[in-house]
Symmetry: C2
């Protein structure tokens, strides 16, 4: 990694920490300069605009998510073991990657749902990739015979995302000590219950 890339990577770490705490709305060249101690002109050398910075932070978050959640799950066997590994890594991903204040992609999803433009488009593209990766893991579990042959991987992916969102809500807003247990029980039930209806 060259010096420029290394600096860029450190800046993006700081940007993600800031977005995790205050949302992307809080992320401007000015506030990031204040957080990192770098000059605004130095930051502009790396990111030409606030929008470019926000897009780079979304990319960095999505890459870190993939490295923390999907890549390690490849060590688990195809089928339910891998699906379960993805889910367990997902529950812990913000802690495991040092984002103490929650998932920046989740914050961005709420912040940008009504703001047309390149940041929103970028975020949607990243969530579509996440969705496809998740669907593929469920499809492999169907192929492996771990889930009923007539199940719809897209429906499983939809439900799994909902369980993670409910977990974030219970753990981060309500500070419920049983949030992870609730999430695991819901996921077990999703995997064990009746076949998912076709879409």
């Amino acid at each position: 990694m060259g010096k420029g890339e290394d600096t860029r990577s450190k800046i993006l770490d700081a940007a993600l920490a800031q977005a995790s705490e205050g949302g992307f709305e809080s992320l401007t060249i000015g506030t990031l300069a204040a957080h990192t101690g770098l000059s605004k002109s130095g930051l502009f050398a790396h990111f030409g605009s606030r929008e470019e910075l926000q897009i780079a932070a979304i990319d960095a978050a999505a890459e870190r998510f993939a490295d923390t959640v999907f890549v390690p799950a490849l060590k688990a066997g195809r089928g339910l073991p891998r699906v379960r590994a993805i889910f367990e890594h997902w529950l812990r991903w913000t802690e495991d990657s040092g984002l103490a204040h929650g998932c920046p992609l989740h914050a961005a999803a709420i912040e940008f749902d009504d703001r047309p433009g390149p940041v929103r488009e970028h975020l949607v593209a990243r969530y579509e990739i996440l969705q496809r990766n998740l669907e593929r893991a469920f499809a492999l579990a169907v192929d492996a015979g771990d889930l009923p042959a007539d199940s719809d991987p897209g429906q499983y992916a939809f439900a799994a995302l909902g369980i993670v969102f409910a977990y974030y809500h219970a753990a981060r807003l309500l500070r419920r000590p049983d949030a992870a247990d609730r999430a695991r029980a819901a996921f077990d039930r999703l995997l064990a219950g009746a076949p998912a209806p076709a879409a």
Copy 2:
């Protein structure tokens, strides 16, 4: 309704519309004055601070939610009919109550999860009430014999909230045309599947 209360109610309508679009972060006495055409001093007469305004908007949103989702569901019989009515009203609640840009309580949940203080406490209390109302509806369905006797209403409420969050995400961020169908299929599966494991 006296003139003062009527004005307050109109101001809160505007505050909710603003929070629905830009989040509570966007809601200040100044931006609300610009949106409503009222003077800042006039707004200060109703709400002494930004915090007081945000708390009043959260209360207004929670009351509107209850009036749009839970109250009409009381017309449905106890048990699964009422649980299903709550769910259907919930999917439509922002449209039915003129909040074109999504659920302000959902936005607030992400915005305030890491911000200690009275607004957060107020929001948590409102979500606890929502959770209790939802649990009660599921408990009545258990009592009515519509759900297995050993099911845990709290687990159903957790899962139902997750399905709604996944619906918001699919409908508002990803603009998926099948978002409501996915949500209904997930809810059907929740109600029809294996008994919910005890917490």
